[in-house]
Symmetry: none
Subunit: 400 residues, 2 copies
């Protein structure tokens, strides 16, 4: 029996409440002797580490650097080696694009092509309104093909989502993106025989876009990556009998949350808005996922002091969570994003859990090294959900 | 290759001896800052923690609260997610009831039914001698059915075991027990098509019992639960080449031990009797499982001071184990039973191992928090058996 089956069998609905605060990419690495978490002044986070039990968690397994999809799936109790989510589907769902069974979606960039080479992969980061105009124009002027519907949906700046609707499309496709400037656009190629139809369709679309947009000064080509279809994945209601809510600002995390059956709450763009949404919707749900992005984006930028500032900026809001008296509060990251590495990494996440049934350990600071000495030890992130459910008394006994 | 296969391939018989002392449910939770183990005075257990290496173990996986069956299976090296044992089979084997391939067994209660409702699920806890008389009467007077043999075996007070012998019985049956008083008796229902025959047979039996016992003042009905057949499970001899012995007082643990091929040693009801049995049978076996129940039953009662006393009561006997100079001594619990939760829990077990090949770590007390800082770290209980076998030099090298 696997965890998924066990969860279906043992989980029960209760009135207890779980809050999972994901400080995206907060795990880091020392520079001048101190990691971002060690350098930050964050009395509330440290206070929670003191009040509960700590550990460190590997998103997928030791040594594996995850994308945001697998890292979040693991935290939500889904085996990231079993469930694969294309980046396209997450972007699409997060942008509010509806995706059905016959749809193939991809993340797109408008790009500038000159003399047969991609000279700007982001088309000079055209304004979002320009993007909207171009997408509307494309949806009107792209040539119609028998049995196929193609639509593009504008995102921020140069980003868009492409959706192909037809029978028999598969998503085993290579990215249609040269990745670097100064190279020619590349067509997609099928990575499995059943993706041949989709491959032809996508490459036709790329040619059509170039033809329709040939007079645009900047956005005169499309690059596509992360082709994906709607995956078959059970909801958190089905697996865990939760009434889950997501409080997140970015399309990708909202998309993932929606896919797993979470209610994606309306939330403004400021950090304070996350906590206002939590307070407003407290009575309606029993599991709250709060996503804080700035610790990751500053880490990706390699900006150590900005990442420290992002941690310090979040810290004063923590009392707004504890004031609600959740039965279980977990603070962790989905994956580490050390400023020193300017990207996601394989380093385990610091993890703290506060609950009436948890006791306390000796850990007095929410940092990578302090948490590694905690009572929870080192574990895979997929254990976070059973742990949270257990402390919320939402799991019945296994066997007699 | 899985552990089970590996064990068959690598295990070898040696003269070395292993003692596994299970302090049932000893793992607990702090109340007023101290857990049961932290509050207890137990110089011998602490001395063993000092003399060996420690860790904490999850019976099934993090967050999962196990029943006694899965928790013990894991300690004995059997994957508790692969092998499922019905409570009925454990009770039957522990009571000395023989169970064959065509047998279906269940745990029974005699109950009092009045006006169509169960008014006492335990028939006023009738004396054990009454129970024996009633079982004998039933075995004589229950109507005979073609191709079916039914027998009941008395247990303590109101408890009995029912055994149904016939071709084609399956154990996918719901409990025939309303669980609460003031409700009507419930028939069993088949949970899979192949259990239809068994379901009919069991319900007929319930009616027959009520008819035969209609003049009994208290025990005038039967409730049945935990229907189970003899599971297919390899013995510890086959897997580990051990000559194992069980020293336990309670039917359930004796039943499990017998199922796994252990010799269940005769043992009196006092704590001292456990150690006398160990000493008497020392030469005949190379693996001794000793089961101490009081730490669990006091925890289930939510009686913190009684659980502390149960720990303190066992401690003076530890030198009788070490005097025998076992090559490997492990002390742990099967699962935690915090007094604060009045039941089994998901908290990991404190675990100590003393062996000539183990070295020592810094842990100086046998407590949950001290063990969590030990050399063994945090691991799943199923690793206890390979660890014990290894330190007893009973496992050969894997691969060249």
């Amino acid at each position: 029996m696997e965890w998924e089956e066990l969860a279906r069998e043992l989980s029960q609905q209760t009135d207890t409440k779980i809050v999972l605060l994901v400080m995206d990419g907060v795990g880091g690495l020392p520079a001048d002797g101190k990691s971002e978490l060690e350098a930050a002044r964050k009395p509330n986070l440290d206070g929670l580490a003191k009040a509960g039990i700590c550990g460190v968690s590997d998103p997928v397994m030791m040594g594996i650097t995850p994308g945001s999809g697998p890292a979040h799936l693991a935290l939500f109790g889904y085996d990231p080696l079993k469930f694969h989510l294309g980046r396209g589907i997450l972007e699409a769902l997060g942008s509010g694009v509806e995706v059905g069974r016959n749809d193939l979606v991809a993340r797109g960039n408008f790009a500038t092509v000159m003399g047969g080479l991609v000279v700007d992969r982001r088309a000079g980061r055209i304004p979002t309104e320009e993007n909207a105009r171009i997408c509307a124009y494309l949806n009107e002027h792209l040539p119609q093909r028998q049995g196929v519907e193609v639509r593009v949906f504008p995102g921020k700046e140069h980003r868009f989502v492409a959706r192909f609707t037809a029978e028999g499309l598969a998503d085993a496709l290579s990215d249609a993106d040269p990745q670097k400037e100064g190279r020619a656009p590349v067509p997609t190629t099928p990575l499995a025989p059943e993706a041949a139809k989709a491959s032809g369709l996508v490459n036709l679309f790329m040619d059509d876009v170039a033809a329709v947009l040939k007079d645009e000064p900047k956005a005169n080509a499309a690059l596509l990556r992360g082709f994906s279809k709607f995956p078959s994945i059970p909801t958190m209601q089905a697996l865990f009998k939760l009434r889950p809510a997501a409080i997140a600002n970015y399309p990708m995390y909202k998309g993932l949350a929606k896919l797993l059956g979470m209610d994606v709450l309306a939330v403004g763009g400021e950090t304070a808005d996350l906590f206002e949404a939590l307070e407003k919707n407290w009575d309606e749900h029993d599991f709250f996922y709060i996503h804080y992005k700035r610790t990751d984006s500053t880490g990706e930028d390699g900006n150590m002091s900005a990442k420290v500032a992002a941690i310090e900026a979040l810290d004063p809001f923590l009392p707004r969570i504890t004031a609600l008296k959740p039965n279980v509060l977990v603070v962790t990251s989905d994956h580490s994003t050390p400023s020193a590495l300017k990207g996601h990494s394989w380093h385990p996440n610091p993890f703290l859990l506060v609950a009436g049934t948890a006791g306390v350990d000796d850990v007095a600071a929410f940092t990578e090294r302090a948490c590694a000495k905690g009572y929870l030890g080192r574990f895979r992130s997929i254990s976070a959900m059973p742990l949270m459910l257990a402390h919320a008394l939402k799991l019945q006994k296994y066997g007699a």
